[in-house]
């Protein structure tokens, strides 16, 4: 389906959206606002020097994480790359555990051992949070293989950016996904830039990046990512297909990031892209503003309600920062925990031989 054809359809009418209750629609909006407010607070603490490392913000892409994960059933799983705060919050991780992880605190989701790029919540079918571009794509294949092996009806939603499509292991994974009929859905979040290199300068494109799936006889679809209804309608078809036919699919959502590759990316404004481009997208395509307008038009939401949601999420993000600041850091002894299962549990295997080689 071409982009223009996709956008001529009103995705609110897709059954998966038409059947949403008012409360469910507001929950979708709240999910996006929640990510926006978390990320804005994260940017603040990063700029205040309160966290280390990198910070890859998701602002502008919220509709993709919230729309796709809102469709997850008990046996559907998610894995993504380093721009992972949105997906983490969307699957239900708390702001406290996520914010504390940014601060490197023991109360963080990874006990301060993973940092911004490495959030995990296996109890919520959320498998990270991966730092190496494209490195998660074989893991997503493995989740799908594991589901099929266990005879479970489910799907693995494996997210990647437009830069990751040029990594070799992605194509190895597509070949195996098709060959073995594994229920993995690769979701390309195309925000147009792989770090400072535009798609035009990094990728050979015919129709779109997802089209490359044709080489592996995998169904694909490109769609707009700014309309959460569209994200849901398109993803629903892919999940149904994975569940019913155990077949992979490649989706590509057009989206945009408001910040740089990471917050340390000074060239994203006026360097490799112009400020007007960013402002134009924010004004015309912001997924939160678009959905807000939509829900007001549908008479599901009032301006006051929106303000209350926004204020609530902002307050929670600020409170999460306070929680993180007041939380203890890991101790030096904690460095050696969570390396080996057998050592942590002090099993016989964990007590046999030397595992760590410090003096």
């Amino acid at each position: 389906m071409t982009k223009s054809a996709a956008r001529s359809v009103d995705h609110a009418e897709a059954p998966i959206n038409a059947n949403l209750s008012s409360e469910e629609k507001i929950q979708l909006l709240r999910g996006m606002v929640r990510i926006r407010r978390f990320e804005l607070q994260a940017a603040k603490i990063y700029n205040a020097g309160k966290m280390g490392g990198f910070l890859h913000l998701y602002n502008g892409q919220e509709s993709v994480a919230v729309g796709t994960t809102s469709l997850m059933g008990d046996n559907d799983h998610v894995i993504t790359a380093y721009r992972n705060h949105g997906h983490a919050l969307a699957v239900g991780m708390s702001m406290n555990e996520c914010m504390a992880e940014l601060y490197g605190k023991a109360t963080g989701c990874s006990k301060g051992k993973g940092g911004s790029m490495h959030f995990f919540a296996p109890d919520k079918n959320y498998w990270g949070g991966h730092g190496i571009v494209g490195g998660q794509t074989p893991l997503g294949l493995g989740l799908a293989y594991g589901l099929k092996y266990k005879g479970l009806t489910g799907a693995a939603l494996c997210f990647l950016g437009d830069g990751a499509v040029n990594q070799g292991c992605f194509y190895e994974s597509l070949n195996m996904a098709s060959l073995f009929e594994l229920p993995v859905i690769y979701i390309i979040e195309n925000n147009k830039y792989s770090m400072g290199t535009s798609m035009e300068r990094s990728s050979v494109v015919d129709k779109c990046l997802a089209q490359r799936a044709e080489a592996f006889k995998i169904e694909w679809q490109q769609a707009g990512g700014e309309d959460i209804y569209e994200v849901r309608a398109v993803t629903k078809k892919a999940i149904d297909r994975a569940h019913k036919e155990s077949k992979p699919m490649v989706l590509e959502f057009d989206t945009y990031r408001y910040y740089g590759h990471s917050v340390a990316d000074a060239k994203h404004k006026g360097g490799y892209r112009q400020e007007e481009e960013i402002e134009k997208y924010k004004k015309e395509h912001d997924p939160i503003q678009l959905f807000k307008k939509r829900l007001i038009a549908e008479k599901v939401l009032s301006e006051e309600q929106f303000e209350a949601i926004d204020a609530g999420e902002k307050a929670e993000a600020i409170a999460a920062s306070k929680f993180a600041e007041e939380s203890p850091s890991p101790t030096e002894a904690n460095i050696f925990e969570d390396v080996y299962f057998e050592v942590d549990r002090q099993t016989e295997a964990g007590r046999t031989g030397r595992h760590f080689f410090n003096n």
């Binding site: 006990k111 293989y145 594991g146 266990k150 292991c169 195996m176």
Partner: protein
């Protein structure tokens, strides 16, 4: 006790663990219908079918990563690399994903995977196929590394590796696959992290792993017969975790050590052992620790010369006689 080949001992370990645990699955290139490039998985596909023994395309990065992803969901994949040398194309999946996922998730995720295959030189296949990456991998906290010198150890260690809840890198050897050794019919396990004294001696300790153990044993025989030197041979069996106590006890008894290692010398496994002996048994030493490694150049193809690049009994004897 029946004498069986190293490859068949591994084969028995796989069959027993497949039958014991429905989550155990063998995955790799040619492991199923072809019966394994080195016949290690011979007959298993026929017996256990597609689900438990699975052929993959030549895509090491993706299939190793697939195994890692599946292990996160509770499977126990036993992944074959046709050569451990091919780990180079799957290195990100092994090091960053298998090796780091437990740590980075604060202990929320386990990776009970075994990655196995031959890791040796000496077969005239050139440098690309002759790497011995046990030292590369043992340098990664989060991974475990095992190397079996005979069929008995191979079976017992493999069964333990499959049941272990951490990622275990299992080093085999194409030159050992056809070697026979006594393997009991009843079930047994060998813990990881436990070295084995393969020959007792009093004058010098030879520390080795994998096929270098056999080279060290040959050297020990010749040292006894021709030079009246009694060499003790310690087989590490497991490199990480490492049984330091057995090595140190032997050195404290013999007061001399020569380390035999098919790794190249720079940061080889023997470098770690040497450092450990120096730090923990310095006062017990009567001579500097010596090392006999593979000669420090890419593996040469020439069939006439390659055997000389690996540790040989002659080089071991020469090194021992320098300090005894």
């Amino acid at each position: 006790m029946p004498l069986i080949e190293y490859r068949d001992a591994l084969n028995q370990a796989f069959a027993e663990e497949i039958e014991r645990d429905p989550n155990v699955v063998l995955i790799g290139e040619e492991v199923a219908q072809y019966d394994g490039a080195y016949k290690v998985t011979r007959g298993l596909w026929k017996k256990y079918g597609d689900k438990r023994v699975m052929d993959t395309p030549i895509s090491e990065a993706a299939f190793i990563g697939m195994g890692v992803g599946a292990s996160m969901l509770g499977l126990r994949p036993v992944m074959e690399l046709m050569f451990w040398s091919f780990a180079t194309v799957a290195y990100d999946q092994i090091v960053n994903n298998a090796g780091q996922i437990r740590y980075m998730s604060g202990g929320l995720i386990n990776c009970p995977i075994v990655i196995r295959g031959p890791a040796n030189g000496g077969t005239n296949v050139g440098a690309t196929h002759s790497h011995t990456p046990e030292n590369w991998l043992a340098a990664i906290p989060g991974l475990k590394v095992v190397s079996a010198a005979n069929a008995y150890d191979a079976k017992g260690l493999m069964k333990t590796a499959i049941r272990d809840n951490d990622p275990v890198m299992f080093m085999e050897n194409t030159l050992l696959y056809g070697e026979k050794y006594e393997v009991p019919e009843e079930e047994y396990l060998i813990p990881l992290g436990l070295a084995d004294v393969k020959r007792e001696g009093t004058d010098v300790t030879l520390v080795a792993h994998g096929r270098a153990v056999l080279t060290a044993l040959k050297a020990a025989e010749l040292l006894a017969a021709e030079h009246d030197i009694s060499a003790e041979v310690v087989d590490l069996r497991s490199i990480r975790p490492l049984d330091e106590a057995t090595v140190l006890a032997s050195v404290r008894k013999t007061h001399r050590a020569v380390l035999v290692d098919e790794n190249k010398p720079f940061c080889g496994v023997s470098s770690q052992i040497s450092s450990m002996i120096m730090e923990q048994a310095f006062d017990d030493l009567d001579a500097p620790v010596g090392r006999v490694c593979s000669l420090d150049a890419p593996a040469i193809y020439s069939p006439a010369v390659e055997p000389l690049q690996l540790p040989t009994p002659d080089r071991i004897i020469k090194k021992v006689r320098e300090i005894c």
